[in-house]
């Protein structure tokens, strides 16, 4: 479960107040809003990359409001992927597991499993250079899911893709949700994406959130 309770965020001149939203466990939440409305800011607060001035953030009933982002256990897919240009696709999928001291055998199995789920097995030895937009996003998704997070945060993951690839990626995201049961918050400004994916839809307009469950 992702539960944001009345948080306020200050970022220079920009401010958001009294923001609340709730994505039930295993559900897919989509947060919509115009460019510059503060969607990414809210996502970064949940991830712990930006501190909140008041309010609470709970993940599966654990209060993480002031927890270091490294120990929140959230998978994060940023815009355009932000892949590590010096690492192979395999290294991307294994990165979090190395950091968490997972043994070699389990890591290899997990990498195989992820590559299989995301259809990137043929890409494992390649570096991000020369991957297509859809491939990059699948690698970024695999990296985020690698350590089996309870919560997944996606920041406009499909905005740079063409329409066909976007439809494919939506299907893949639906598969991922079905297979992993991860609670997801997906930020986008694309209504089509929202309709394909959302269990609960949040619309951010003028600093206020409007919730629509099961659109």
């Amino acid at each position: 479960m992702i539960k944001v309770e009345n948080i306020s965020i200050r970022a220079g001149e920009f401010a958001l107040d009294d923001i609340s939203l709730r994505v039930p466990a295993g559900k897919y939440g989509v947060l919509m809003g115009k460019t510059g409305s503060g969607k990414t800011t809210i996502l970064e607060s949940i991830l712990g990359l930006r501190s909140v001035t008041s309010g609470r953030i709970r993940l599966a009933d654990e209060d993480v409001t002031h927890l270091n982002p490294a120990v929140r256990g959230i998978g994060y897919v940023p815009q355009d992927g932000a892949l590590f240009s010096r690492m192979s696709v395999r290294d991307h999928l294994a990165f979090a597991l190395h950091i968490r001291h997972v043994d070699r055998k389990t890591t290899e199995e997990r990498v195989r499993e992820l590559a299989d789920m995301l259809h990137i097995t043929p890409l494992l030895e390649r570096t991000p250079l020369g991957l297509s937009g859809g491939e990059r996003q699948r690698v970024a998704l695999g990296r985020a899911l690698s350590f089996r997070p309870r919560v997944l945060c996606l920041d406009e993951p499909l905005s740079a893709l063409d329409t066909d690839t976007r439809v494919q990626m939506c299907e893949l995201l639906n598969d991922v949700r079905r297979l992993t049961g991860v609670t997801t918050l997906h930020v986008t400004h694309n209504l089509d994406e929202a309709e394909r994916l959302a269990d609960c839809l949040f619309r951010l307009t003028d600093g206020k959130i409007e919730t629509k469950t099961n659109p």
Binding site: L47, L49, A70, F84, R86, F95, L129, A144, S146, F147
Partner: protein
């Protein structure tokens, strides 16, 4: 087909007159010709300078060879570059240059990486001031840097070490470092500026500490910039002269580096010797350029 009136059907007239194709083409050609000529002049100047050095050298070699009974042998063994290499003073100066420049560049890089990262990623009070301070070695006249170092070593705690540093070999490295480092910091800052900060954010959410994110994600991405910073610092150190003359002196077989050799040879009227040493420096500079480019190209195609 729409039923709305279009600009074509309404018979609207364009304002003004279109320029003739010929005049646009002529104007474009003139524009690029001007760009090429202005830019080309500078490139020609650079190449002409190096060619002049080389020609002068060849000329001198032939002049002395013509007087000798065995011209080819003389040309090979007694040309100014061979003479320079045979001179133990010059050999020492080459050796000291290589060692001191490498040391200065390594220390510069060690300082520049953390400094560049802090400047690129973090906001802190006094950042603008720090940024301005880092420009001082770049804009300050080199002689003033040397004099300032000399004066600095009059005061404790520096004065305690003055005997083993000032006019000694360490002074060479310190003088080179104090200027070269500023260039390395600038290079590293711009390198880190070009690395997407979201890479570190992702690394942190995956469970990395700040240091792990820096070491495992940022540094590998910055390796090319580090190579550039190192090269730039090395080349800068090789050309350093003013601060060296004042802070380290120009003692033969002690604090003499290649730029000092050029100066000393010129002073005693040995222009051939000075040009020969200059050519050695040109060769070193070109070698550094080639090494960086080769390394860089392999890097890109990775």
């Amino acid at each position: 087909m729409t039923s709305e009136p279009s600009a074509e059907s309404a018979g609207q007239r364009e304002y003004g007159r279109r320029r003739s194709l010929g005049s646009i083409k002529l104007s474009n050609a003139t524009f690029y010709a001007c760009l090429s000529i202005i830019g080309g002049t500078y490139v020609l100047l650079i190449i002409a300078m190096l060619l002049a050095d080389a020609t002068y050298m060849v000329d001198q070699t032939f002049k002395s060879a013509a007087k000798s009974p065995t011209p080819w042998q003389t040309a090979l063994s007694e040309n100014p570059i061979a003479t320079a290499f045979a001179d133990p003073k010059i050999r020492y100066s080459i050796w000291l240059s290589l060692v001191s420049c490498t040391l200065a560049a390594v220390i510069s890089l060690i300082v520049a990486v953390p400094m560049g990262y802090l400047l690129s990623r973090h906001q802190f009070p006094g950042k603008r001031l720090l940024d301005a301070v880092l420009d001082i070695p770049i804009v300050l006249p080199p002689l003033v840097v040397g004099l300032s170092l000399l004066i600095l070593f009059q005061f404790p705690p520096f004065a305690w070490f003055a005997r083993s540093i000032v006019y000694q070999v360490p002074a060479v490295v310190i003088a080179q470092f104090s200027v070269a480092c500023a260039f390395a910091v600038r290079t590293m800052k711009s390198t880190f500026d070009h690395i997407d900060p979201r890479c570190e954010k992702v690394a942190v959410t995956l469970g990395c500490s700040r240091a792990q994110a820096f070491g495992r994600v940022v540094l590998p991405e910055a390796s090319r910039g580090m190579m550039t910073a190192f090269t730039l610092a090395w080349a800068r150190a090789l050309g350093e002269f003013g601060p060296l003359l004042i802070f380290a002196g120009a003692t033969r077989m002690k604090t003499e580096v290649l730029s000092t050799s050029v100066f000393l040879e010129m002073n005693v009227g040995n222009i051939e010797g000075a040009v020969a040493v200059s050519l050695i420096m040109v060769a070193a500079a070109i070698l550094v350029l080639i090494v960086t480019r080769v390394w860089g190209v392999r890097d890109v195609t990775l």
